[in-house]
Symmetry: C2
Subunit: 231 residues, 2 copies
């Protein structure tokens, strides 16, 4: 049995972590079923591998504990070699590293200040004080200032997406004709926004909607049918 | 015989175009010899394929004219299949597209305003009026303002390089254990800066120096031994 520990909101069915979505999509890509287990920040001691593991996603694969989304992806690629490849071989994997690096160092930091004030009220009440203080420190801004600056951030977020637009003008997925883990890594950020109710990251005219719709459709609409916060 | 038309400065041996450097490195990767032909902007009519082709690089491969660096890379990959692959297969190629897209849409625009005022006096006198007016229009700034703002741009240029640092902390090249066309595309930008004498894009402490030095060493120091503008 495979278990996936995912960050949940006050509503245990609300799962919005971009890193957990990478793993959810990667598991579906491999055709593997997993039991997803809601987890909140206040439950640090309950996380498999605690106290070493402090964050989700954590995968428990038939008893083996694997934490951190990229490590989980490589674990799945190695252990489930008979399913479709997540990287398309060593060269795909090497080049995909840049896409993961860009996502983590550019896209996530662009979206975080925009999404954090939206996320706060969706969290379990016991999580809110921790989330507020840790994110205010990380982003070096008060939650009030972050909320006030949200609308002003949209144009620079959209500008950040230019390399995706350029690439996806050539091919349907970042991985080529079929999606790979690179697509799931980037898409996790869009699903992060979607699940917390921030559905305006992409303008309706954005050429990325074609790719985004394809990602939502994958695996019988896995991401499209995920619970979304009420506005 | 393979001929490569490259942008040259007033000194015909000074070749600094980032897109031409991609092709120079790709040819060396394939183990192919080429005659490189200096070309200046005022010689538009002399470019093979003119007037359709307006820009370098242009490759003339045994009579076949191929223009635009990415098209040239795919041409080389297809026609010189017995040499080492430039992409490592279809998945490498698909994922490399994002690295090319990022380079063209983020790295080149970050460097251009920094380098353009340095390039202007290095050009052939007949090229300068065209270069000045076209670049001032493209960058929406006067050459004087661009020159005055150079130092202030360094920190944001260096911040732009973060996804490279993250990736190259994992592996020696963007292509993995060996360089691929993705490395040449990015490196072309560094060689652009180096050849025009802007050798301070990387701080001496930058972790990217390891990769940059490896790139300069490739093919018996092809890029390291290239003529550089006198300061």
């Amino acid at each position: 049995m495979i278990e996936l520990y995912e960050l949940a909101g006050q509503d245990p069915d609300l799962r919005f972590s971009p890193y957990c979505w990478r793993v959810r999509m990667a598991l579906a890509h491999k055709g593997e079923e997993a039991v997803t287990i809601p987890w909140r920040f206040y439950e640090k001691a309950k996380l498999p591998g605690a106290p070493h593991n402090q964050r989700v996603p954590v995968l428990v694969d038939h008893g083996e504990i694997v934490s951190e989304s990229t490590a989980i992806a490589f674990h799945l690629e190695e252990e489930y070699g008979t399913g479709p490849s997540l990287f398309g071989g060593p060269s795909g994997e090497a080049h995909a590293r840049f896409i993961l690096g860009w996502t983590d160092s550019v896209l996530v930091p662009a979206l975080a200040p925009f999404l954090v004030p939206t996320i706060l009220p969706l969290l379990h009440p016991k999580d809110r004080a921790y989330f507020k203080s840790s994110r205010e420190a990380r982003l070096n801004a008060s939650m009030t200032d972050l909320a006030d600056s949200r609308d002003g951030r949209l144009s620079s977020i959209r500008a950040t997406l230019t390399p995706l637009r350029v690439t996806l003008a050539h091919q349907p997925f970042l991985g080529g004709d079929e999606p790979t883990y690179a697509d799931y890594a980037v898409f996790g950020c869009f699903q992060w926004a979607r699940c917390v109710g921030a559905d305006n990251v992409l303008d309706t005219q954005d050429t990325l909607n074609l790719w985004h719709d394809s990602m939502l459709d994958l695996f019988d609409g896995l991401a499209r049918s995920a619970p979304v916060a009420n506005p």
